[in-house]
Symmetry: C2
Subunit: 238 residues, 2 copies
DNA sequence: GTTTTCTAATTTTGATGAAAATTTATAGCC
DNA sequence: GGCTATAAATTTTCATCAAAATTAGAAAAC
């Protein structure tokens, strides 16, 4: 990694981060992690961008320690690449990694669906969440829908008895979401479709149609892929 | 978490850790993590044991910063529980978590096997690794076998094109191994059986018998479970 | 005399700023 | 043109301070 001359065109990022308030009464490291992770997924922190600890710390008004903590978690997520003693950059969007992520997430969520079909679980617990999803869809509120979508999948894994599976799926999901942010053209359509798939899945689960449910969850996750696949060239890392 | 009076019977752990040399020329945080992780899996650091950062740092002859880094990774592995401003303990062995881990690992490795059967991969690359396994088995060298076993499963995931799957499987494997250390009575038998299962799996893969291969990998992982299940009572966390 | 409540001390993690170590780019020299 | 020394940028580690939580003991209330 070349060490570029210290450039001064950092104002964009500086302004972006300076706006955000850190709550000093809660652990800072976690807040920095959440913030940076979101910025990377939302493409505000772009692939290849150099992010040194001192600058981030200064802009956020905290010391380097909590920033470092955040970096370590981002590194283990594969969202940041650190070369020891040299520097850190936001990782590039790697088509292969996304493909891998989708395969892993599909395998995990298929297992979740399989377990729910096998064991008796109370599927009525989804009604509140689905209602919130419906409201978000009707208002085309993508942010709120994504929040409820996460809650939906978490609840699924929870009811299946393997909450860790969702934690893992989430870590690969970051890469998928980051790519998706760039390529999804018609967001209202997309969330409407996703909501429809959620409804169908719960229906199939309630009727214990395990084959149908497995197909539905696979399609639900693979739908993401067709999105990503159509835009990102196979071998081009942005 | 109660805060017990500072007791002075720490000599066992102190001695245990003081013996280990830290290589100052490589990153310390990673070394501390590897060391503590191994100690927890090997049951030298036992469930419920309190481990405060300062003591570990002193015994290892390093500062608290790299120890903190290690703790953060151990926490995300679920091997250490830290209550803010109170303290850290080695997590208890949770039967439910192990069960979950086995289900997740099985799902991931079944996907690996499925992908290998679907796509054409060079399975001759296993011969060297299998030879090393054979030597380890013949010498009843469990440590060496476990090392080669890890390499075997990593190579499997690599050839399937989803190396991340093995990284994930590894994080749940720590919990499984920790329990297994306590219950496996006849280690030479166990590694002999595992080696046999590896051979059969590669055979099935070479002949593209995907159903057989899927059954074999499932059994390979579930074999662990029968071990753990027979000793650890369902609801008793140690 | 017993129980409850308040206060101070102790322990532990959280955060900070500075010093040390290391790598890389750049300029100067042969 | 290639090699070496120097300086800059950055991470890594350290020692120290700050904040939070629990315990222990004294004081107060019953």
């Amino acid at each position: 990694m070349p060490r570029p001359k210290k450039s001064e065109n950092k104002t964009d990022l500086s302004d972006l981060l300076s706006e955000h308030q850190i709550d000093r009464s809660r652990a800072i490291g976690g807040q920095v992690y959440d913030l940076l992770r979101l910025f990377i997924i939302l493409d505000q922190l772009q692939p290849g961008m150099q992010i040194n600890e001192l600058d981030i710390a200064k802009w956020l008004g905290v010391s380097r320690t909590p920033v470092r903590e955040a970096y370590q978690r981002l590194m283990s997520d594969g969202l940041v690449i650190t070369q020891p003693k040299v520097g850190s950059v936001v990782s590039s969007i790697d088509h292969k990694r996304i493909k891998e992520g989708i395969i892993i997430r599909r395998a995990l969520e298929r297992e979740v669906v399989r377990l729910i079909c096998e064991n008796d679980v109370d599927l009525d617990r989804f009604s509140a969440n689905l209602a919130l999803q419906r409201v978000a869809v009707s208002q085309s509120d993508a942010i709120e829908f994504f929040k409820q979508d996460e809650a939906f999948h978490l609840m699924l894994a929870d009811l299946a008895g393997i909450p860790t599976a969702w934690k893992m799926a989430q870590s690969v999901k970051a890469h998928i979401d980051r790519a998706r942010i760039r390529v999804t053209s018609n967001l209202p359509d997309r969330i409407n479709q996703a909501f429809d798939e959620h409804l169908k899945l719960i229906d199939a689960l309630k009727q214990k149609q395990s084959d149908t449910a497995l197909d539905l969850i696979s399609q639900h996750i693979e739908a993401i892929f067709s999105d990503v696949d159509k835009i990102t060239p196979e071998n081009l890392n942005i």
